[in-house]
């Protein structure tokens, strides 16, 4: 990594808000097309869902956010009842990594994003 990039935050290195928008578009499409998890998205308002994905990705990109574990718990409680478990969470992380790979994000930064996303696991799964 060069000297200039080390001074930038993860969010800046990824390209800031514009990069989040691009990533959401690809990420949400991947999630909806993924037969392992797409049943959890049946019947949801797609615009609201995309907005939530944006809030999630902003957090995972290390950007400004008001992440609340409790909101995440409340928001996913219904899905946990439907059977949401670790395998589904893993699938989402996999789609996130695939999205970033598609956008030519270096592996090291992808690992950092995945680690931030990973911090939501317990809240999402209601553990």
């Amino acid at each position: 990594m060069t000297e200039t990039t080390t001074n930038l935050s993860l969010f800046e290195q990824l390209g800031g808000e514009g990069a989040v928008d691009t990533a959401v578009d690809i990420f949400y499409r991947k999630v909806l097309a993924d037969y392992r998890i797409n049943r959890f998205f049946d019947g949801v308002n797609m615009d609201k869902q995309a907005a939530k994905q944006k809030a999630f990705l902003t957090m995972a990109f290390g950007g400004p956010n008001n992440y609340s574990g409790q909101d995440m718990r409340d928001g996913h409680a219904r899905l946990v009842k439907m059977g949401l478990d670790d395998s589904h969470f893993d699938a989402v992380i996999e789609n996130l990594a695939a999205t970033l790979t598609e956008l030519n994000v270096p592996a090291e930064l992808i690992a950092q994003v995945a680690a931030l996303a990973e911090t939501t696991r317990k809240d999402v799964l209601g553990k």
Binding site: D25, R29, M46, A51, K54, A55, T58, N65, D71
Partner: protein, 321 residues
Amino acid sequence: MTRIKFDDQIFESENEETVLQTLLRNNVQMPYGCKTGACQCCLMRSIDNSPPAESQVGLKDTQQKQNYFLPCICKPENDMSVELPNTKNVWFESDVIEKRYLSENVILLKLKSKEPLAFFAGQFVNLRRHDGIIRSYSISNIHNAEHELEFHIRILPNGNFSRWVADELEIGMPLSFSHAQGSCHYVEGKLEQSLLLIGTGTGLAPLYGILQDALFHEHYGEIHLFHGSRDASGLYMENELTQLAQKYPNFYYTPCLTGDNLDFETYTKGRANQIAFDKFQKLNGWRVFLCGQPEMVLQSKRTAYLQGASLKEIYIDPFSS
């Protein structure tokens, strides 16, 4: 110091405060979520001035044009009058000036407003009968100097309102209507963009308005309209649309039928949305309008997105059926 007018009250914003902070500090009940402009839970509309552009980031172009903004990231530059979406309860008066059958069970109803109107073709208004019964209908015409509004009314066998329109409403009679609402309409610009219009039944009404609007603005990208029904009696305005397709080389009209019909020289067999999505499998960069039967609309929205259309460029009107 700027002032925020909301619900007949005026609040002064303190330095560097967002509109949301000002309202919450004054104990106004507001829906909100992320407070960073992402979740759009707190969406509001500015009634007088255009809101600051940075408070409209991430909204649909149709919403931006209607002065919607996100109060959680809006630091007001000037005084603002604001409202929450769909809370207005104002009625306007009009007279019926035309009523004719477009098909066996669809009526074209034309109203003339007593005062000037602000609307986009494809938005919907609530129509209110003298006894208070209210129904939502999409506007099928573009703005004109005569302050006219056109609707396609499907007559339902037991439809309280639609049967009344068919049997009792006469030319010259008054009818109240609400503000135009909804984000399913054409926005001028990107004239080269391909447009995909898919509708079932009287979902044609908003699409016809959007088509008129696009042609009025000399949209030159391809415009593809797929109108579906079970049998031929469910389609209407076929002559007008066929003539438009002959007049405008960039406009294509495909009437689709799912029932057993022998005349497949005129009609394409199958569901309008499936035929459209089979024909255009890559929708990257397209603007997509979906109107009509709610299940078709929501399913098609997902398909359009999965086939490459951006969510911000998919406009839906699931109210008509």
